[in-house]
């Protein structure tokens, strides 16, 4: 894909620039703080020294989950929305409190503290289960509310207008996407049995797409660029794959037809690994793509401060280029949000399609599998 290679090129070239300049950045330059870019945020950290700009920390704090929603910083004081922390500890039971109790990692509360990665840990080092409503969780709830409102309203319109009235407004937009998913993703990959999987594929597609787009909003959470989210989606897809798989698939897996016995001993483990790799590929692909996009945009914006650290005037004039570049990559990201959602939905459909494939495909098996793998690779 063109956009992917372009992105790769950018990521490469700018990582080179970043490493070149990151040494100079260490030279303190308070002028960097004067441009109140909301994207250039820095969660306060015990190790963070005033006036210094740690680029990689900036970027990682931007793309990682947090226990509070950072909006912007005024001088050295970050303005954040505190979020609830919910922790279950086998020894101490359930405890809930607001993340503001931690005072951005400066204080411990109730036997818990934030470590330098922004994660909650017990002071005594015991095992805890952190199910806090973090920034990503809250963003996901927002996405869920948005999705539910959008689609329930659209479906209400279908119920009110009946099937024979031309769609209008949001219904029209949703319908185009639904028809696209049905005709381009579900039917070609799942065949006549596609109706059973339509809800899953549609939900995957729209969930990812809307979550992706919410992540693009400045100050938004990098939801789909978080491996826990993509891992969960991949696990769901994998569970569905396993539960819908037919005997034919497993027969082919454990006893590939037309192979000498010796080859079977090599082939079966490979096939098993490829089975496990399918959800892992789903997980990594979405995660890496969205993360890379966020990093690229953050890099463009941070370039302003890198240059400003060299010289205020260079930084000021470079901001024009940098904003133009980040707008450009933002537009590409907008495209990527839809493409990645489509790819996730499409690959899920392809994998499920391989699982439910039955004997009717036997004649064209070789070609069928081959084209599928090729499609997989091209995505």
């Amino acid at each position: 894909m063109a956009s992917k290679s372009v992105k790769l090129l950018w990521a490469l070239s700018f990582s080179v620039i970043l490493t070149l300049f990151s040494f100079q950045v260490r030279a303190a330059e308070p002028a960097a703080e004067q441009a109140a870019e909301p994207v250039a945020e820095a969660t306060a950290q015990p190790t963070h020294e005033a006036g210094k700009m740690d680029i990689s920390h900036e970027i990682f704090s931007h793309i990682q989950d947090a226990h509070d929603w950072h909006l912007f910083s005024i001088g050295e004081n970050p303005v954040t929305i505190p979020l609830p922390v919910i922790i279950y500890s086998p020894t101490n039971g359930l405890s809930t409190f607001m993340s503001s109790r931690f005072e951005h990692g400066h204080a411990a509360y109730n036997g818990y503290q934030l470590n330098k990665d922004g994660k909650v840990e017990a002071l005594d080092g015991s095992k805890i289960y952190d199910i806090s409503l973090t920034k990503n969780v809250v963003a996901m709830f927002l996405a869920v509310i948005l999705i539910l409102i959008l689609f329930l309203r659209v479906s209400k319109k279908y119920k009110e207008n009946g099937p024979d009235k031309a769609p209008s407004g949001m219904q029209n937009a949703v319908e185009a996407c639904v028809v696209f998913i049905r005709d381009e993703v579900a039917i070609p990959n799942l065949g006549k049995d596609y109706k059973r999987f339509m809800p899953l594929i549609l939900t995957i597609f729209f969930f990812i797409w809307i979550a992706n787009m919410l992540g693009l909003i400045p100050g938004g959470a990098n939801l789909t660029g978080n491996i826990a989210v993509t891992c969960c989606l991949a696990v769901i897809a994998f569970v569905v794959m396993l539960f819908t798989s037919k005997k034919h698939f497993w027969g082919h897996l454990f006893n590939p037809p037309g192979m000498p016995t010796a080859v079977k001993f090599i082939l079966v483990p490979i096939e098993l690994i490829s089975l496990i790799i399918k959800p892992i590929a789903l997980m990594i692909r979405l995660f890496a793509n969205m993360l890379a996009g966020h990093i690229v945009i953050a890099c463009f914006v941070l370039l302003i401060f890198i240059f400003a650290n060299l010289n205020v005037w260079i930084g000021g004039s470079f901001s024009v280029i940098s904003v133009a570049l980040s707008v450009f990559s933002m537009l590409i990201e907008l495209l990527v949000t839809a493409i990645q959602a489509y790819i996730f939905a499409n690959l899920t459909a392809i994998f499920i399609g391989q699982m439910i494939e039955d004997h009717s495909h036997h004649a064209g098996e070789e070609g069928f599998d081959h084209t599928d793998t090729e499609r997989e690779l091209s995505l």
């Binding site: 479906s155 119920k159 319908e175 939900t203 978080n226 491996i227 989606l233 769901i236 993360l291």
Partner: protein, 164 residues
Amino acid sequence: MGLLTPDFGLFFWTLLAFLLVLFVLGKFAWKPILNSLSERENSIAKSLATAEQARKEMASLKSENESLLQKAREERSLMLKEAKDNAEKLISDATAKAKSEYERIVADAQSAITQQKQAALTEVKNQVGNLVIEVAEKVLRKQLANKGEQESLIKDLVDNVKLN
């Protein structure tokens, strides 16, 4: 680096959120949307098929009408021709009949005349015969004293009577 290690909490909430969305949308959104989509597609396909059917019917109706019209025209000309023939035949029949009647009447009249004439002649002959006999009687009563005179008289009389 924490980037590649999935958080348990986020995983848990994602699972919950996704399954919630899947359940709610599956029940209340995708079902009606997909159903009405396929319903609409069916109804569009049906309407198109119906339109095509109607078009075909129209075409067949038109050709049927045309053939009917053609047939009607043929029938009309046939009827006209028949009527004309009938009229001619009627006229000729009437003429022939009139002629034969006329001939019959004439023939009848002629035969009647002939008959009458014969009857009249016979009557006249009879009358004449009677008259002659009367006259002859009268004459004979006076003149026929002798036989010779008688015979010559009869002979004369007979010769004189000539049938027309």
